[in-house]
């Protein structure tokens, strides 16, 4: 399997980001992983890339997978989703989004289902990552 272009981890929980970062590193599915503490930071980052303000070198890369927590300060997962939908179609079309959360609240699952977004419950495991890759990145296989 070809490595992914990059992964964004959006979660206000540092330890969780750390553990997920470690898991993904050990699975060796990408060389580029960035962590964000809330939706706003992640969106600003994506916006500058989509508008061509940032050079795609070093720290800046366009991710092919975003793992998004729901409950975060400043801007939560659903607010981030609403803004993300407004980015250009061409930018969004090869980016996969997945909600990653402890929430089992019916309301949250229903909203996720309505947005056709993959919904993963914590903790993230190699199995869950593998399933996600199989579902969305089959054509990456060489």
């Amino acid at each position: 399997m070809k490595k992914l272009k990059g992964i964004l981890l959006i979660d206000d929980d540092d330890t969780n980001n750390f553990l997920n970062h470690r898991l993904l590193n050990r699975m060796q599915i990408t060389d580029k992983i960035r962590e964000f503490r809330n939706g706003k930071q992640a969106f600003d980052y994506l916006y500058s890339i989509s508008e061509g303000h940032a050079e795609l070198t070093g720290e800046y890369f366009k991710p092919s997978l975003i793992l998004l927590d729901i409950n975060m300060p400043v801007m939560d997962g659903f607010e981030f989703l609403a803004l993300f939908e407004k980015l250009s179609e061409s930018f969004r079309k090869d980016v996969v989004l997945a909600l990653l959360t402890t929430s089992e609240h019916n309301q949250d699952t229903a909203r996720a289902a309505a947005s056709h977004i993959t919904y993963l419950t914590k903790p993230l495991t190699t199995q869950k990552v593998q399933d996600l890759l199989d579902a969305h990145f089959k054509d990456n296989a060489e």
Binding site: T15, T102, H105, K122, P123
Partner: protein, 423 residues
């Protein structure tokens, strides 16, 4: 004047003081005078009477007397002058008297109809007596009326008092009801706050717990393997973390079932289908405990309920039976349904350890109360069952004999009969 004329004519016609002729004349004169006086009296009376019948009669008598007098008066002329004329006059007077007599005769029935004074008196007395009686009756009536009025007044006074008391009572009850409603509202709000608290606490604690378990795994991976000391420590760490995790999940479930079920979540559910789901979830523990599960839902195969809730009920009941089975005998669980009054009853009976309800009964459904320590449990299952049934206007009953088994009876509101809105 008449008398003067008569006396003058008599004086003129007859020489005074002359023998027996003179005496006859004097006698005649008296008779005429008497007749005329009587006639005058009668006419006078006729004039004065105010009832027509008697006036006529008196007038007729007067006429007869007048005519009689007139005839006698003519005697004087008869002697003095000859006379066909006088004879005719006599005849006329006679006829007039006769007519009067005839009219008098005709008036007899009318006169008879006139009551006599005696009669009148009697009638009067009778009438007076009647009047008296009536007055008495009236007085009696008035008295009765007064009494009645008094009674009515008294009664209305009583009624008014009673009414006022009732109004006061109603006022009191309304006030009490208002207080109850506001208390109830407060309780509902507090309950909701508590539910929210439990929900958010369990959710927010979940993240750190997951982190700890992830970190433990990471540490395990970083450390050199094959260290028995470390292995034992990690096993205990894993147990502790999973225990915290399980308790948090229970809390989350408690807060979830506390939330009222939405109308749209209610569906006709097949007991058999949900039971099969539960059996699939509990497959491992059913296999390990070698439980024999028998189900007969033929009497009432379906219930109008929330799928999550029915699933939760059956799962908790079955896992309860499995947990508290008697190790001396094979566990038998039987599930049946039936219709009873306005309820659909689900009976879940096992031959497990049973319990002493007189000792534990009142705390059986309390949150986090546990009565056995030989098996893993959280003290949440029965509480969840009770809450679900309460939230759906149903109830739970338990029958149990120590050493023989336990039967749970779940009473669902039968929506086939009761289509009323849920509260």
């Amino acid at each position: 004047m008449l008398l003067f004329q008569i006396s003058s004519s008599v004086n003129a016609g007859t020489p005074a003081g002359s023998g027996p002729d003179g005496l006859v004349l004097v006698g005649e004169l008296f008779v005429v005078t008497a007749y005329l006086l009587v006639a005058g009296v009668l006419f006078y009376l006729a004039l004065k009477r105010d009832d027509r019948e008697r006036r006529v009669v008196l007038a007729l008598f007067g006429t007869i007397a007048l005519m009689g007098g007139a005839v006698h008066l003519l005697e004087f002329w008869e002697t003095a002058s000859q006379g066909n004329f006088l004879l005719i006059l006599r005849l006329v007077f006679g006829v007039a008297a006769l007519i009067a007599a005839y009219l008098l005769f005709r008036a007899i029935p009318g006169l008879l109809a006139i009551p006599s004074e005696k009669q009148l008196k009697r009638t009067n007395i009778d009438l007076r007596a009647q009047i008296e009686e009536r007055e008495k009756a009236e007085a009696a009536l008035r008295e009765t009326q007064q009494e009645l009025e008094d009674r009515v007044q008294k009664r209305s006074a009583q009624a008014i008092t009673a009414n006022r008391e009732l109004e006061r009572e109603i006022e009191n009850r309304k006030r009490a009801e208002k207080q109850l409603i506001s208390k109830n509202y407060e309780l509902i709000k507090k309950n909701a706050d508590l539910d929210d608290f439990v929900y958010y606490a369990s959710r927010d604690l979940k993240g750190p717990v997951l982190n700890v378990s992830g970190l433990v795994d990471a540490i395990r991976e970083e450390l050199p393997p094959n260290n028995p000391e470390l292995t034992q420590l990690f096993t205990r760490l894993d147990d502790s973390v999973s225990s915290i995790h399980r308790k948090l999940n229970n809390l989350a479930e408690v807060s979830r079932i506390q939330k009222p079920v939405e109308e749209v979540d209610l569906k006709k559910l097949s007991f058999q289908a949900v039971l099969e789901q539960v059996q699939a979830t509990l497959a491992q523990s059913i296999r390990e405990s070698d439980a024999k599960i028998q189900a007969d839902f033929s009497a009432a195969p379906e219930v109008f309920f929330s799928r999550d809730n029915l699933y939760s009920l059956l799962r908790n009941l079955l896992s309860n039976s499995i947990k508290y089975r008697d190790p001396q005998r094979t566990l038998q669980i039987s599930l049946t349904t039936r219709l009873q009054d306005q309820y659909l009853v689900l009976e879940v009976k096992d031959n497990g350890m049973g319990m002493d309800l007189s000792q534990y009964g009142q705390h059986l459904f309390s949150l986090f109360r546990r009565f056995h320590d030989h098996v893993e449990g959280s003290g949440v299952g029965l509480y969840i069952i009770k809450r679900i049934m309460d939230n759906n206007r149903g109830k739970v009953e338990v029958q149990s004999v120590l050493g023989e088994g336990t039967t749970f009876l779940l009473y669902f509101v039968n929506h086939d009969q009761d289509t009323g809105k849920r509260v």
